[in-house]
């Protein structure tokens, strides 16, 4: 497990090694952080939705915690995506936020949606019903991802007819591609580690509470 975290850290080194981008210079390096974070967020949310589906399918309670943890880590990564995206915008154009940046807008919508996931959970009594309802919500969320992508793209057409100079596709040089790959793998590994960590912790918590109940 530790090795995975090291891999995630190894990412940082790759930042220094990779060749500089012609257009944007050093600031472009944030790309190596921002996009993997975003992709990991999607991966975690998708994982949470998958576990949710398993819960509804098999009715096995253990999937509830797994789904919850997936969504939780996913939300954290979504927040990081917004943060890194914001930093990148500031470094590139001097503004902390730009509505023309589609990826960020989509993440904003998802952030709202998945934050509400936790509000939903806290408002329900623990039990089978809470698990099922959360699972359905997680599934709705994963369907929302492509729908909001499409929506934001359409919105751009009437909101910002002057297109934004697209950035973030400088995979011309092999060195960059490799760096990106390493960073992505590392970020996923980080996500997976956090997930496994949190899930084990939560399961222990639940077990403890159960035992306490039995003893009283």
């Amino acid at each position: 497990m530790l090795a995975l975290v090291l891999l995630g850290a190894g990412v940082g080194l790759a930042l220094l090694w990779a060749p500089e981008d012609a257009d944007q210079g050093a600031t472009q390096r944030i790309f190596y952080l921002h996009v993997p974070v975003a992709l990991t967020a999607y991966a975690m949310l998708g994982w949470g939705a998958w576990k949710a589906l398993r819960l509804l399918w098999t009715r096995e309670e253990r999937y509830d915690l797994a789904s919850y943890t997936g969504v939780h880590i996913g939300l954290i990564f979504a927040l990081l995506t917004l943060a890194t995206g914001s930093i990148w915008a500031r470094a590139s154009w001097g503004v902390w936020w730009d509505w023309r940046e589609r990826q960020l807008v989509v993440f904003l919508i998802l952030f709202l949606f998945y934050s509400a996931y936790f509000m939903l959970r806290y408002s329900l009594e623990p039990g089978g019903a809470r698990g099922r309802i959360s699972a359905v919500y997680a599934l709705v969320g994963v369907v929302l991802i492509p729908v909001s992508f499409l929506a934001v793209r359409l919105a751009d057409q009437f909101l910002h007819p002057t297109p934004l100079i697209r950035r973030g596709g400088p995979d011309i040089e092999a060195g960059m591609l490799f760096t990106f790959g390493v960073c992505f793998a590392g970020m996923l590994a980080l996500g997976a580690t956090l997930y496994a960590n949190e899930l084990t912790g939560k399961r222990l918590d639940a077990r403890l509470r159960e035992l306490r109940e039995v003893l009283t």
Binding site: L56, I109, L110, L112, F113, S115, A116, M119, L120, S123, L124, E125, G127, G128, A129, R132, I133, A135, V136, Y137, L139, V140, V143, L144, V147, S148, L150, A151, V152, L154, A155, Q157, F158
Partner: protein, 211 residues
Amino acid sequence: MTYLRDAAALARKDLLLELRGRETVPAMVLFVLAVFVAFRFALPEDQERAAAGLLWVAIVLTALLGLVRAFVPEQDQRTLDALVLAPCDRSAIWLGKSFSVLAFLLVAEAAAVPLFGLFFERPSAATVGAILLADVGLAAIGTLMAAMAVGGRAREVLLPLLFLPLAIPVVIGGVGATVAADPARYLGFLALYDAIFAILAWATFEYVVTE
């Protein structure tokens, strides 16, 4: 088709309750009017796009108002248990309820849209089409969200949080259809939204109301 008859019986029940109580629809109409008036002062003069935006925000918020009240009779008297126990398909409950939510929304809009035309600008045919499409989607996914919020605490606060992020794509589609030169694309998007979320809500409703 007993399935449709079940949904119809349930929708009929909701319409009957509303006819008796007359609480939800009048509230929705008044709410929309209040929003129009408030926004009139909030927005600067001669802002065509702003008017379109206002219309859609008003629609979404009015739909929300209708949804907040949607499951109230089932909540207060716990009749949802009785409906879940009945031999009918649980998704029929969703269908019947969505239909009544849609009906209330349409009635409220039948009053609001002409008034919008009077206060601001006449809505185009594309806009009206978009409103109809949007209503279906909002009712479909909104009913699912409303059912989720039923069992919990602070449901009046929770339902807006659950519903509004999902309503954002609808606002995009609606405003697009209202202001863009080529509304067909946005109408198509709204239809797609409706299909996707209606199917999803229909398929998952069972899991929300049973344990």
